[in-house]
């Protein structure tokens, strides 16, 4: 399960960050923020890549001692970052992938909510629940 899930705007400011309450959330904010270095790199590199390599899922961004950080970028250049406990070996790439897909779907619904102003921080029950489920579910 994820310990922190973040949605980052095109301009790289956070639209949504949630981390498991037990941990110091600031730490996760830093983790997510620093991971953007890798995201940037991957995206810029991706421009040249072939179609089949231009996947939205960016894979593992970088491993720290105790966490793995994964990335995903939508066509609208919105980034999803997911931090997972390194000890959690159950999570294979495919699980991560599908989690991101779910996240993306849910985000799309947020985008389609007429009362949501794109670019604003996300305050959505539906999205919250989705995220919670991902942080709860034991993979």
């Amino acid at each position: 399960m994820a310990v922190c899930i973040a949605v980052i705007a095109k301009e790289n400011y956070p639209l949504y960050i949630r981390s498991i309450p037990t941990e110091n959330e600031l730490k996760f904010h830093y983790t997510v923020h620093t991971s953007l270095d890798v995201v940037d790199e991957k995206i810029s590199a991706m421009g040249k890549a072939l179609v089949d390599q231009r996947e939205l899922y960016l894979g593992l961004l970088y491993p720290t001692e105790d966490y793995k950080v994964y990335g995903y970028v939508t066509n609208s250049k919105v980034k999803f970052v997911m931090v997972v406990d390194s000890s959690n070996t159950a999570l294979r790439d495919n699980e991560i992938r599908s989690m991101f897909r779910k996240l993306h779907n849910s985000y799309t619904d947020v985008m389609c909510n007429p009362f949501y102003n794109p670019g604003d921080c996300i305050h959505s029950r539906a999205f919250d629940n989705m995220v919670t489920s991902m942080m709860m579910q034991v993979c």
């Binding site: 095109k10 421009g47 179609v51 996947e55 066509n75 609208s76 250049k77 985008m111 794109p118």
Partner: protein, 163 residues
């Protein structure tokens, strides 16, 4: 969520017409001056465009470049929204694209020819916004204008604004 994939087109066309006339009606009653109606329609289109593109590009690979995106708009996007592709896409390769639709859905129910030409702009503003919103969400700032010479054919000009 189990949502019906399809809605009926008639309903949408009526809704769109009513949006246009509704706004103008309101404007006449002094609720918001007339000139802003076009802008309002454009803005609504913009917002819808943002939402739609987010949905439609959910499963596509990341776009290679501007042209790649424009093609997507002309093919997939247009088909999903108006049930036909753009008939002709031209560009000067300096950030200007012209999308031509020879039988534009939102004009077909108006009588063809030149009769109602002056009303056309009202009925295109929303779509201009739609395109602009879609592009902007894909990271392309642009100005979109429409031009009708003989209904129901219609040209949309997209001017990319380099940032």
């Amino acid at each position: 969520m189990t949502r019906p994939e399809m809605a009926d087109e008639t309903l949408f066309l009526l809704l769109h017409n009513e949006m246009v006339s509704g706004l103008y009606r309101a404007a006449e009653h002094g609720e918001g001056e007339n000139g802003r109606c076009i802008t309002k329609l454009e803005n609504m289109g913009f917002r819808v465009g943002q939402g739609l593109i987010e949905r439609f590009t959910k499963d596509t690979a990341r776009f290679k470049d501007e042209l790649d995106i424009m093609k997507f708009i002309c093919k997939d996007f247009w088909t999903t929204v108006f049930k036909k592709q753009i008939d002709n896409l031209r560009t000067n390769h300096q950030g200007i694209y012209v999308l031509q639709d020879n039988k534009f859905r939102l004009l077909t129910q108006m009588s063809t020819g030149k009769q109602y030409l002056e009303y056309a702009p009202k009925y295109l503003a929303f779509t201009c916004g739609l395109i602009r919103g879609g592009l902007s969400n894909l990271g392309i700032k642009s100005i979109v204008t429409a031009e009708v010479s003989a209904m129901p054919a219609c040209k949309f000009q997209v001017m990319i604004q380099k940032m």
